[in-house]
């Protein structure tokens, strides 16, 4: 996996404890075209506290371009922004 740190649009569900789970996200590809990817499986969820900055880190799996891919999404609790961190 390689760090890309690209901002993404996300549809997520939040449970009663306030913990989000990503459902699908939209990313602008290199050719400016928008691609929507469904999050098929969330493998792990961690709360990262680096530099005191809280972020949820989701390790997920989806079929992208016909192949299974594992990637990481991050959600910043302070900024409320999602990003595709690693793929």
């Amino acid at each position: 996996m390689r760090v890309v740190a690209k901002p993404i649009d996300v549809i997520a569900k939040f449970n009663k404890e306030g913990i989000p789970t990503p459902i699908k996200f939209k990313i602008t590809g290199e050719d400016e075209a928008e691609v929507t990817i469904k999050v098929e499986r969330v493998i792990t969820r961690d709360l990262e506290k680096l530099a005191g900055n809280k972020m949820f880190v989701f390790r997920c799996q989806s079929v992208i371009n016909g192949g299974e891919k594992i990637y990481e999404l991050k959600y910043g609790l302070e900024t409320c922004k999602w990003m595709l961190f690693k793929i």
Binding site: V3, V4, A5, K49, L50, A51, G52, N53, M55, M83
Partner: protein, 418 residues
């Protein structure tokens, strides 16, 4: 106080730089600032400002904390410079405090990147202090992403010296029986409270290491340096007994801001504008702490880097921007010799609570109205930012309406008292 205390001193390694590096990595930066010659400070675009923290690779270029970006870039042209973000540093400091609070109820935030933790009587609960210090250090590294050095001893002075002995990412003990071996060989200027004024005096007496000082005759040093001599002699023997001051309260002794100007200030009007902008910040901070000041001081540095200052005690304490600025201009007119200035500073001290104040016959008749005005301006600035409202003199003057002021000032960069 208890005889056998155990005190930790936790010191973040190149704090600002590590915090900046960790935050950037977390947000997808491809390179770790800690692994290249880099520094935090000033504004990389205008190349104005001073170095606040540097990476270990930058140390090889002999880059010093406090020197200007200009001289630093001469030493190392590819030095990577980033602007400071004090909000982030407070957040990192808070996160570290929160983690440490799990281990002891008595914690003192000595500065934004240094903490004392009283581990006395905690062995029963947490076990051996050295093992625990390693655990704390590793947890900070794992969870928060930066490294710390921990010094362990029976008082704050020795714990602080211990954390300085080995870094980064280390635990060092300096118990009283280890002083002779670990502390005495160090140069005497490494001792707390031996600064650039005391050092030449000690050198003249043939004292170059802390050990020299410790083995010097106590009566003689007390005779030569008075109570300060007694203090540092005791320090050289590791004798210091101040408690770890818990709680979040920090005794503020004074509030000040200063700014190094990008050009030489040669006329009185510009100098006064800069002083006014500094006074605005200082007075607002003063009111924020709910104090009034009894002393106003200015400091000036000319283009030859000569410093001088001038101060005055007030007849009646105040927190009013207008009153403070009137004194600042008086002081400036008395002190300034007409040479080009590079750095100006305003400082207030002798603080006391603003709750009760003695009225005097000579108070400004508009005092109540000025106070209401200050209050209204503070509220506007807090809500809409410091540029929301400004004095008309700053219009088109090229001088910012408020100068100075960083989040880290809530805690002193380095406390002067243990």
């Amino acid at each position: 106080m208890k005889q056998n205390r155990i005190i930790f001193h936790i010191d973040v390694n190149s704090a600002y730089l590590s915090w900046e590096a960790v935050y950037r990595l977390q947000n997808g930066a491809s390179l770790d600032l800690r692994t290249i010659p880099s520094a935090v400070g000033g504004d990389p675009k205008s190349r104005h400002g001073i170095i606040l923290a540097k990476s270990i690779p930058a140390k090889q270029y002999n880059i010093q904390t406090g020197e200007t970006l200009h001289t630093a870039l001469q030493k190392c042209p590819n030095l990577h410079i980033v602007s400071p973000s004090y909000g982030l540093y407070m957040q990192c400091s808070d996160a570290m405090m929160k983690l440490l609070e799990e281990y002891s109820p008595v914690i003192q935030r000595f500065s934004v990147d240094e903490v004392f933790l009283d581990y006395t009587d905690m062995e029963g609960h947490w076990g051996d202090p050295i093992a625990m210090a390693h655990k704390i250090k590793d947890r900070i590294k794992e969870e928060l992403g930066f490294t710390v050095s921990i010094g362990i001893s029976s008082n704050k002075l020795l714990a602080k010296m211990g954390s300085d002995l080995k870094k980064p990412d280390a635990v060092t003990t300096v118990f009283p029986e280890e002083i002779a071996r670990k502390i005495w060989p160090l140069p005497v200027e490494d001792l707390f409270y031996v600064g650039r004024a005391t050092l030449p005096k000690l050198n003249k007496m043939g004292i170059y290491t802390i050990g020299d000082l410790a083995n010097y005759d106590y009566e003689h040093i007390k005779y030569r340096l008075k109570s300060h001599g007694a203090l540092i002699w005791n320090y050289s023997h590791g004798q210091e007994a101040s408690p770890v001051r818990g709680g979040k309260h920090v005794d503020i002794k004074g509030i000040g801001n200063s700014s190094t100007i990008a050009f030489d200030v040669e006329d009185r009007i510009t100098a006064c504008r800069i002083l006014l902008a500094l006074t605005e910040t200082v007075a607002m901070r003063l009111r924020h702490t709910e104090n009034v000041c009894g002393l106003v001081a200015i400091s000036l540095r000319d283009s030859e880097l000569r410093n001088y200052s001038h101060q005055r005690k007030l007849f009646s304490p105040t927190d009013c921007t207008k009153e403070i600025f009137e004194i600042v201009t008086e002081l400036f007119d008395e002190a300034w010799k007409g040479e080009p200035l590079r750095n100006l500073g305003v400082r207030v001290s002798e603080l006391s609570s603003n709750e009760l104040q003695q009225k005097s016959l000579f108070d400004d008749v508009d005092q109540e109205r000025n106070r209401a005005l200050d209050h209204a301006i503070d509220q506007l600035r807090l809500r809409y930012g410091s540029k929301a409202i400004m004095k008309a003199t700053f219009l088109n003057s090229g001088v910012k309406s408020m100068i100075g002021g960083v989040g880290a000032d809530d805690y002193p960069m380095m406390a002067s008292l243990l």
